[in-house]
């Protein structure tokens, strides 16, 4: 249990410090695998078929399928590095340590008396949520945003485990399914972004704003006509 929590914390720090998107995908995959194991390790009661099925689904979805999918996205977009994040990697890691302290403080503040899982799991979970959000805020590439979302979602799931809560089997599966479908759609949008705009920098997504004026609109129209034309041909 403690080892798993430490792996989760390390993975969060690694995500903050790595510029290679390929590595980041692997780290998130490891998080998924570890999360899948958690319910089995944690189980205070007998392992039902439902728990096994859920664990296997989590491992398959978060540890294998989604990483493979994101990897194909990565390859087809041909971008391998996060260049010039808003906050540099060194500072990110320091921020990560601050977030870790914050997560520990939150766990202490919650003052749990009945929980069956060690508090470090909850600290790790809060840290994952915070670091996932931090990644989404400070990085530019769409793929990193997806990874940040996954890390955060993993964290939220781990919060549930840290508080030793269980939802009914069907609901747990529903939550997992939502995440998987969500990431699949995000990956799909990412591909379109790469194809239509020739970049996946989310900070350059600035076409839509309240100040948009004539000039902006016209420029957009001309650059879009081509894309729509080609898109339609593909569809036919």
């Amino acid at each position: 249990m403690n080892i798993i929590s430490i792996i989760l914390i390390m993975s969060g720090l690694l995500l903050l410090g790595s510029s290679r998107l390929g590595v980041a995908i692997k780290v998130v995959a490891i998080q998924g695998l570890v999360l899948g194991i958690l319910p089995i390790v944690k189980a205070s009661h007998e392992l039902t078929a439902g728990v096994w099925f859920l664990c296997i689904s989590i491992i398959a979805a978060k540890g294998i399928i989604l990483p493979i999918l994101l990897n194909t996205n990565l390859k087809s977009s041909g971008i391998t590095r996060e260049i010039e994040p808003f906050i540099s990697y060194g500072v990110s890691i320091i921020a990560g340590i601050i977030m870790l302290i914050l997560a520990g403080w939150m766990t202490v503040r919650l003052n749990l008396n009945r929980t069956m899982t060690p508090p470090i799991v909850l600290s790790a979970a809060f840290f994952m949520v915070l670091s996932g959000l931090f990644l989404m805020i400070t990085r530019k590439k769409a793929l990193t945003q997806i990874l940040g979302f996954l890390a955060m979602e993993n964290g939220v799931y781990a919060v549930g485990i840290g508080l030793s809560l269980e939802f009914p089997f069907m609901v747990e599966l529903g939550i997992l399914l939502d995440v998987v479908v969500g990431v699949v759609i995000m990956g799909h949008l990412l591909l379109h972004m790469d194809k239509e705009m020739a970049h996946t920098d989310t900070d350059r997504l600035t076409e839509l704003s309240d100040n948009i004026r004539l000039s902006g609109e016209i420029k957009v129209v001309s650059s879009n006509e081509v894309n729509i034309g080609s898109d339609r041909e593909v569809l036919k």
Partner: protein, 485 residues
């Protein structure tokens, strides 16, 4: 149980089938048929006694939202027929950018799946099940926003998906906290938790309410969490914008209301109400700023949605008779806003621009749409005798009765500014000489029939409220200790 699941299941099945139907005619028929069956069934569920079957069920609150969702979907479905055929024929040349699109099967399929997930979201009584369905609505609607494949709609869909997914993931954490308030209660349902009442742990409950309010509030479009909303609403095709605004935002609000119910029962109702009031008035104020001099008429409607969500939150937060007003306003807002968004779709298809400064002479070029547009304006700004006036008035009356003078003053001021700003923009679009090069073209019945019906309903709601509607609104308000009686 089966009766409540029926509308969800039938919409989901129709949605899946729609992906595989080749013929456009059959697919469109399926869309409208499912919408009608759903509508009839929702009215039936509204007429019979509430059914509670564990994880799902109906009460007055869910019935109000269910019927609203169903009616809005029906309107959007009928309008979609017009929209999709207009899409085929590429009406005016300069509109081609807005009327080129993804395959229709994906559109119809996602629409129906959206209906199914929204239905589940309003009928769910298990908190986590509700969460699953609210998140699923995001997933079903994201491809719809990206219907017109352009870099703009792509940006909108991306922001929508990312921001709402993060918000809803945060709400899940809030649900874990909510579960912690009472580990002994076996079922994680509204009924069980409300029944547990004062035995709930207040610390956990306060934390849970705040986190869930922020999480679902993102999806509901409460300022300052609304940033995705104007983009998504302005880029989505008209029927989808209408549904997002008229049905989807309500579903997210229902998520908040359910937790509010528990908060009331658990003894932190005052704090919860204050938070709702704060978010509410802030949303109204922020929307006012952006509505002033808004150049894009679809964004104008989107910010008006932020405003109205604020009004609804404010109403429920103020409590007492205002809860009745707030819930009634949710229904009225849906009726009017859907009509307005559909009319906006007509204007966009005809003029090929979303800049209101380029839309001139609406009254002579598209008389029916101009009528809807003007009437919609009058309704949305809360002018009598529309239902929106009644609901806003009820909220204001309760606020003054409770002596919230400064809040009332701000609220009134915002409403007046919004009224002036929107009238200026809308009337300038309608009553000006038309551009000379616009050719004559008749409006198709399908393009205006549903908005007119919705507006007439909104008008009727302001004049006469049937007993059954009043009962449902009263009972729903009573869940929050409110109501007119």
């Amino acid at each position: 149980m089966i009766r409540i699941l029926f509308p969800t299941v039938i919409a989901a099945m129709a949605g899946i089938i729609a992906f595989f139907i080749r013929s456009n005619t059959w697919r469109r028929a399926l869309l409208v048929t499912t919408a009608s069956v759903h509508l009839v069934f929702s009215f039936y569920l509204g007429a019979i006694k509430p059914i509670k079957a564990g994880w799902i069920g109906t009460d007055s609150l869910s019935v109000i939202f269910l019927v609203t969702v169903s009616l809005m979907f029906f309107a959007a479905a009928v309008y979609s027929i017009f929209y999709l055929t207009a899409d085929r024929h590429h009406e005016p040349e300069n509109a081609s950018r807005y009327l080129s699109s993804t395959p229709e099967s994906i559109y119809t399929g996602c629409m129906l799946l959206l209906l199914s997930t929204m239905t589940l979201a309003v009928t769910a009584r298990h908190f986590a099940l509700q969460w699953v369905s609210i998140e699923a609505t995001t997933l079903a609607s994201a491809p719809l926003i990206y219907f017109h494949r352009s870099s703009r709609s792509l940006e909108a869909a991306w922001k929508y998906l990312i921001i709402c997914s993060v918000g809803i993931a945060i709400a899940l954490m809030g649900l874990f906290f909510l579960r912690m308030t009472s580990p002994k209660v076996s079922e994680f349902t509204v009924d069980a938790f409300v029944a547990a009442g004062s035995s709930l742990d207040k610390k956990w409950l306060s934390a849970a309410f705040i986190i869930i309010l922020v999480g679902y509030g993102t999806k509901m479009g409460l300022a300052p969490l609304h940033t995705w909303l104007p983009d998504a609403h302005s880029e989505a095709p008209a029927p989808v914008s209408a549904l997002l605004s008229g049905a989807l935002l309500n579903c997210a609000f229902l998520g908040i209301m359910r937790v509010h119910q528990v908060a009331n029962a658990g003894g932190i109702g005052v704090m919860a109400s204050e938070l709702l009031v704060m978010f509410g008035i802030f949303s109204i104020g922020l929307a006012t700023v952006f509505i002033l001099r808004q150049p894009d008429f679809k964004r104008l409607l989107a910010y008006s949605s932020v405003e109205n969500m604020g009004i609804i939150a404010l109403g429920v937060g103020v409590g007492g008779g205002a809860v009745f007003g707030g819930l009634f306003h949710a229904v009225n807002h849906s009726l009017v806003k859907v009509a307005l968004f559909l009319a906006a779709g007509n204007i966009l298809a005809r003029y090929g621009t979303r800049e209101s400064s380029k839309v001139r002479g609406l009254a002579s070029i598209m008389p029916t749409t101009a009528f809807i547009w003007t009437m919609g304006l009058i309704a949305i700004t809360g002018t009598p005798p529309f239902g929106t006036f009644m609901s806003k008035f009820t909220i204001l009356k309760t606020m003054t009765a409770k002596g919230m003078w400064s809040l009332t003053a701000f609220f009134m001021a915002f409403l007046v500014i919004i009224f002036a700003a929107m009238s200026y923009i809308v009337l300038k679009m309608v009553f000006t000489p038309p551009p000379p090069e616009m050719p004559e073209k008749p409006e198709r019945t399908l393009s205006w029939i549903m908005p007119v019906i919705l507006l007439v309903t909104a008008l009727a709601a302001g004049i006469y409220m049937p007993e059954i509607v009043r009962n449902h609104l009263e009972q729903a308000s009573a869940l929050f200790g409110g109501g007119l009686k």
